[in-house]
């Protein structure tokens, strides 16, 4: 399946910005079952300062906001070809050693509730255990837009019993690590069946299983990713894979509008 993605983020400031930076992880990479056919990022009201690959092989771009501007427009678009692998990503290939994915972070930090959840899955093993964990998290944490704050830990999310996709992913990652599975966060795009326009990127989890390598788990939809999912960046948690992390002086009030379109691109033979 070929997906066409357009992602536009517009920051409007009530006053001119004196100085600002945006660290972006918004460029998908090609790997076994995902081929990036084309991808382009453009910036209006700012400038690309540099680019590098981080420890998870994510492409990181640093953008500066042009001093004096009151608007910054970031646009990425491209096409990605996907192949069905039932959520299996394959062997670990990044520079980061696999054992580092056992490390809990402030966002995945477990507490009594997460430990209890993990304990409830003892007796199961491997892939079966992880699928059961995905369903258990989906049951324990109801998807509720706007119910959480970005600095919530997995434990806090479990206590509240609600959250967004990144919160659900953090609980999954936290418990998977407790159960001895290396786990990571994935940020990316998901094509929805009922609409083209979206307001945010999606986030899910991946866990490492000896026989298969990395396997994806999307708690929010209680399924492993299929060809509607485009992986963009990975990290130990959301913060490590975040599409944008920013800082600025000046600008005062900020308003943000995001427009994401993910749609199936008809193959060329069909178009002709």
């Amino acid at each position: 399946m070929r997906l066409k993605i357009a992602h536009e983020t517009r920051y409007s400031f009530s006053e001119p910005v004196r100085y600002g930076l945006q660290q972006m992880r918004k460029t998908p990479k090609s790997y076994r079952n995902q081929k990036v056919v084309s991808w382009e990022t453009s910036v209006i009201g700012g400038k690309k300062e540099l680019q590098y690959e981080d420890q998870h092989r994510n492409t990181v771009e640093l953008i500066s906001i042009t001093p004096g501007e009151t608007e910054l427009l970031l646009r990425s678009e491209g096409e990605v070809e996907l192949e069905e692998t039932n959520g299996v990503i394959g062997p670990h290939e990044s520079l980061t050693p696999l054992w580092l994915f056992d490390r809990q972070t402030p966002q995945t930090k477990p507490g009594p509730h997460v430990r209890e959840l993990a304990r409830s899955l003892h007796g199961r093993e491997g892939l079966d255990q992880l699928h059961a964990l995905m369903s258990a998290v989906a049951k324990a944490v109801k998807y509720t837009a706007g119910a959480s704050a970005s600095d919530w830990s997995a434990e806090k999310v479990m206590e509240a019993g609600k959250g967004v996709c990144s919160d659900q992913a953090h609980v999954f990652i936290s418990a998977a690590r407790l159960l001895g599975h290396p786990a990571r966060y994935v940020s990316g795009y998901l094509m929805l069946d009922d609409r083209q326009s979206q307001e945010a990127m999606h986030g899910w989890a991946e866990a490492h299983v000896d026989a298969l390598g990395w396997v994806g788990f999307d708690v929010s939809n209680d399924q492993s990713p299929d060809t509607r999912y485009v992986r963009v960046a990975t990290g130990l948690d959301y913060a490590g894979a975040a599409p944008v992390t920013g800082t600025r002086t000046g600008g005062e009030e900020e308003s943000l509008s995001v427009a994401i379109e993910v749609a199936q691109q008809m193959s060329q033979s069909q178009e002709q």
């Binding site: 660290q23 540099l50 590098y52 981080d54 054992w99 490590g240």
Partner: protein
């Protein structure tokens, strides 16, 4: 118990060779004049201290570390032997850091348990795969040594993050020159005053490939409220480079640049005295107002050298310390020349049992602590302190290591009643660059001013001495 080794008088009250000239001079001096000189030296320090503390008068008091006029003297031959061991250790530390942030061969080879790294906060995932310009991780290292006999030295700890105290080494010598010029014409002492020049040269040699012409070096300080601010200002001044704060810096054209009267000027090498966690709010602690947003991005794109590299703390962690003999051997193929103090890791149940059974004879330290805080010295601890520490150990054994109480050497200090022995340690300062390893002769001698005390940290009532390495 054997007598404590005194570096001036040995164990048998016979003047040791390195002190022979000094001893003669001292005999011929009027004690009253020396005591007056001691007061004069303290006055010099107070004045210098205040000059350096114009921004924070209140803080000036605590920054005055007592100075003692009796030098700590090491023979040229003793020093030569030490430097071989120090150089070997520092090379091993750099090789270890490169490995642990790349292929982790030492873990794969089973020589270092992965548990030592995995959940260790000093190990920064953000440094994985990053090779710093010039391949150098620890540009400036302080190796803390203690002596227990004529030929017995131990490494107490390594300081691979931002070792401080070098300004005291320089000021102590300066003050001794002023007080006792005649001493230095009599005795040939290896100089230390070249340190700032060597530091600048060493840092410049680590400039990234984008540097044009003479590399631009700057010292990054958290600001005037930091307890070591005067050292930051002092070193910048001595090197003739800018002292900057995070707010003076920006990312301009993919480089970190400082504000000057002619606009923004790119920096090639930054000697930062800000902890890893605070250096960049975009990559690390987002609450940090001290750091430079984007500096880690510029660093990872290869456009600036940061000294020391972020993440070097994994090499001086106290739990890693116990593996230093293995680390030295793994990377140099040789046995470690400098000895480690035998260390019990309390996360091992058998070691924990031994430590709890022998608590009153051991020194127990927090794995991540520094500055002599959170430490138990068994032999001098009260029953209550021992009982409290026992509880802490049982609750979180992994947080602690234990070592035998070493009988640290003494060097005399000047007291109202004449010379009196006090325990000392030594922090030599080591510079690393692609050009090689440079060790300033001597270093900072810290002395426990309280009789019998083994804690030399300035925060715990320690003082300093000038350290002489003789030309012989």
């Amino acid at each position: 118990m054997t007598k404590i080794f005194d570096e001036m008088w040995g164990r048998e009250d016979a003047l040791r060779a390195p002190y022979s000239q000094f001893g003669q001079w001292f005999e011929g001096e009027d004690p009253a004049r020396l005591r007056a000189k001691q007061r004069e030296a303290e006055e010099v320090f107070r004045l210098t201290g205040i000059t350096f503390n114009v921004y924070g008068q209140a803080a000036a008091e605590e920054r005055l570390i007592p100075f003692d006029i009796v030098p700590r003297i090491i023979s040229g031959a003793e020093w030569k032997k030490l430097t071989r061991g120090i150089e070997q250790r520092v090379r091993a530390i750099n090789a270890f850091l490169h490995d642990i942030y790349h292929r982790q061969e030492i873990v794969r080879a089973g020589r270092l348990p992965v548990e030592m790294i995995k959940n260790n906060e000093a190990y920064l995932p953000e440094m994985v795969g990053v090779t710093p310009p010039g391949g150098v991780y620890t540009h400036i290292v302080g190796i803390d040594l203690v002596r227990t006999g004529d030929d017995e030295f131990y490494v107490l700890e390594d300081n691979a993050r931002t070792p401080s105290g070098v300004s005291y080494m320089l000021e102590n010598r300066e003050t001794m020159y002023k007080m006792f010029p005649e001493l230095f014409s009599q005795t040939k002492v290896q100089p230390v005053s070249q340190y700032p020049r060597s530091l600048l040269r060493s840092l410049s040699a680590c400039a990234p490939s984008c540097a044009e012409g003479t590399p631009t070096v700057a010292v990054l300080t958290p600001g005037s409220y930091n307890s070591a601010y005067f050292e930051h200002a002092f070193l910048a001044d001595q090197m003739g480079v800018e002292l900057v704060e995070g707010s003076d810096l920006r990312v301009v054209d993919g480089r970190v640049a400082m504000r000057t009267t002619q606009g923004y000027k790119p920096i090639d090498v930054i000697y930062r005295r800000i902890d890893d966690d605070f250096i960049d709010p975009l990559t690390f602690n987002p609450e940090s107002a001290l750091g430079v947003p984007g500096i880690m991005d510029v660093y990872r794109a290869g456009n600036i050298a940061i000294a020391n590299a972020p993440g070097t703390g994994i090499a001086d962690d106290k739990a890693i310390y116990s593996y230093m003999p293995e680390i030295v051997e793994f990377y140099t193929g040789e046995k470690a020349i400098l000895q480690n103090v035998p260390t019990w890791r309390c996360n091992d149940p058998e070691s924990l049992k031994y430590v709890l059974d022998n608590l009153d004879e051991l020194v127990v330290k927090e794995v991540h602590g520094s500055g002599g805080y959170g430490m138990l010295i068994g032999p001098t601890a009260s029953k209550k302190e021992l009982a409290e520490f026992r509880k802490k150990l049982e609750a979180k054994p992994g947080n602690y290591i234990a070592q035998p109480t070493l009988s640290l050497s003494t060097v005399p200090i000047m007291t109202k009643a004449g010379l009196a022995p006090r325990h000392v340690d030594l922090r030599p300062f080591v510079l690393v660059s692609p050009e090689g390893v440079n060790i300033t002769p001597g270093g900072l001698t810290r002395v426990a001013l309280k009789k019998g005390s083994l804690v030399v940290n300035s925060s715990q009532g320690g003082g300093t001495k000038d350290t002489w390495v003789l030309e012989d």
